[in-house]
Amino acid sequence: MTDGRIRRALAAVFALELIATPYLAARFASLKDPSDLDAFARVALWPWGYVLAAAGVTLVARFALRPGRWIEAAGALAIAGVLQEGFGHIVGVYFEPFFQTGAILFGWLAGFGIAAATYGRAATTRELERVAAAGAIAALGAVYVAAGLSKLAASGLSWATDPTHVRLMILAHRDVDASGARDAIVGAIADSGAAGAVLAFCSLVIEVGAFALILGPRTRAAWGALLLAFHAGLYALTGILFAGGAVLIAAFCLPWHRLPALPRSARIGAAAALVAAGAIAAATSAHISDLPGPVFLIGAGLVAAAWLLPETTESEPADAPGLDLRRFAIVGGALLALLAVLWLVPTTPRAHPLDERTPPSSR
C-alpha cells in the first residue's frame, strides 16, 4: 500500500460520507415534526447541507489529487464537523460511523503535523506523506481501541465474559417473523450462553488489540482481517455496519500489492460495477437501516476508482533528509505533556445527546 493510495482511499470514503450526511439527515428529519427542528439542525438539510457537502467534496478531491494538501484536508474535516452537529440536532444522536472516517482524517493530519514539526524545513512531501499515512492507519486502530476501552471503563472485564449482553443486542435487532438459514443461526446464537460469551470476549480482544495496526504490514494485515471478520459478524447478526470504516480497513490493511495486476480496463469495470450495484441496492432499499451494505459497495467502488488516478509526484531530491531524533523526542514529549495536562484537568466529557434526554435506567 503506497502512501498516495491511503490518502486517495480516505478521500474517496470521506467524500461519500459528506454527500451521505445531508441525505441521511433529510430521511431522519422526515420522521420528525418540523417544529422540533432547531436552527442548527437546518445546516444539515437542503439547501445548506448540500452546499456544505459540495464544498467539502471539492476540498477533499483536491486533497486526493496531490500530496501534502493538508489545508484542504483540515477544511473538509471542519465542514464534516458542522454537518455532523446539524445531524445530531435532528436525530438526537450523532452518526458515529462517520466519526470513524473523521477520526482517520484527523490521524492523517496529526501525522502530517508531527512530521512537519519533526523534519522542519528539511521535510520533503514524500516524507510528510509517509508519516501522515502512518497517522491515518493509527487513527483507524485508535477508534477500536477507544471503543474497547469504553467497554472496560463502563463494565470492567465482565464485559468480556458476560453471556447475556451480546445476545440481548442480537435479540433486539432480530425480526420477530424472520425465517430461513440465517435466522436459524441467529436464533442458535441467541439461545447459547457460551456463544454469547465467546462473541463478547472475541469482540473486546479484537477492539482493544487494534493498536496492532501500527506494527507493520504483516501484523496490520492479520489484525485487519480480524476487524473485518468482527464487522461481518456484527452485520450478519444485527444489521449494524460501519460501512466506510470497513472499506478503509480493507483498503489500508489487506495486502493488495500481492494480487496479480489486473488490466486497467478490468479495474475500471470492477470499480464501476461496485458503484452501480451499490447505487441500485441503495435506491431500492426501503429502510435507512438497509443502506450500510449498499454504502459499503459504493465506497469500495470509489476507492477502486480513486486508486486508478495517476499519482502526482513532487520534484524532490531522491534522498530524504535523515530524521532529527532529538526534534522528534521534543515534539513527541510536548504532545504527551499536553495530553497529560488534558487528562489531569477536570473536564466534563460531552455526553451523547441521547443520554441527556433518556434516563440512564431506561437505556
Binding site: A80, E96, G111, A142, S155, D177, T348
Partner: protein, 149 residues
C-alpha cells in the same frame, strides 16, 4: 522502508493512538472524537416494538400498512412517558418503527383493517447461560392491513 523509518512511523502511530483516545475520553462526543460507547453497558434486558394480531401471532410493524392509531401524528415509542418500561431499548429502532406507522397511516375514508396491538417485547435471561424469555406489554391498539393482503 528502512528500520529507522519504520520505527519512526510506529512511534508516530503510537502517539496518535494515545492522542485520539485521551482526547476522546476527556472531551466526549465532539467530531471527530468519540468514545464509540455503543453497547458498552451490561443491560439486564433488551426490547423491540412489534405488532401482534388478535390470534396472538407477532410480526414486524413494517409488515403492516394503513395504520389507524390514537394520536398517530404524535406517536413515538422512545423518550419519556412511555406506557411500557423501555429498559434496554434502542431508541433508533423505536424511532424507525414509529416513523413507519406514521408514514403508512390510513388515508381519509380508508376501511379499517384488523385490530393490531403494538407491543414492546422485552427479552431477558432467567438463567444467564440459558435461552431467552420475553414478556410483551401493549403500547397502543390500532388497526392496520397486512402488506401482502
Amino acid at each position: 522502508m528502512d528500520d529507522r523509518a519504520r520505527d519512526i512511523t510506529t512511534a508516530v502511530g503510537a502517539l496518535i493512538v494515545i492522542t485520539y483516545v485521551v482526547i476522546a475520553f476527556e472531551i466526549g462526543e465532539r467530531y471527530p472524537f468519540a468514545r464509540f460507547r455503543m453497547f458498552q453497558d451490561l443491560p439486564d434486558a433488551s426490547s423491540r416494538v412489534i405488532a401482534r394480531d388478535p390470534s396472538g401471532d407477532v410480526r414486524e410493524v413494517a409488515r403492516y400498512v394503513a395504520w389507524q392509531c390514537p394520536a398517530i401524528d404524535d406517536l413515538r415509542f422512545d423518550g419519556p412517558e412511555q406506557p411500557c418500561p423501555t429498559a434496554g431499548s434502542y431508541p433508533e429502532l423505536d424511532q424507525r418503527t414509529a416513523g413507519w406507522v406514521r408514514d403508512h397511516a390510513a388515508g381519509a375514508g380508508s376501511a379499517p383493517g384488523e385490530q393490531i396491538d403494538i407491543v414492546r417485547r422485552t427479552y431477558y435471561f432467567p438463567n444467564r447461560w440459558g435461552p431467552p424469555s420475553h414478556h410483551d406489554c401493549v403500547v397502543t391498539t390500532c388497526t392496520a392491513s397486512r402488506h401482502d393482503d
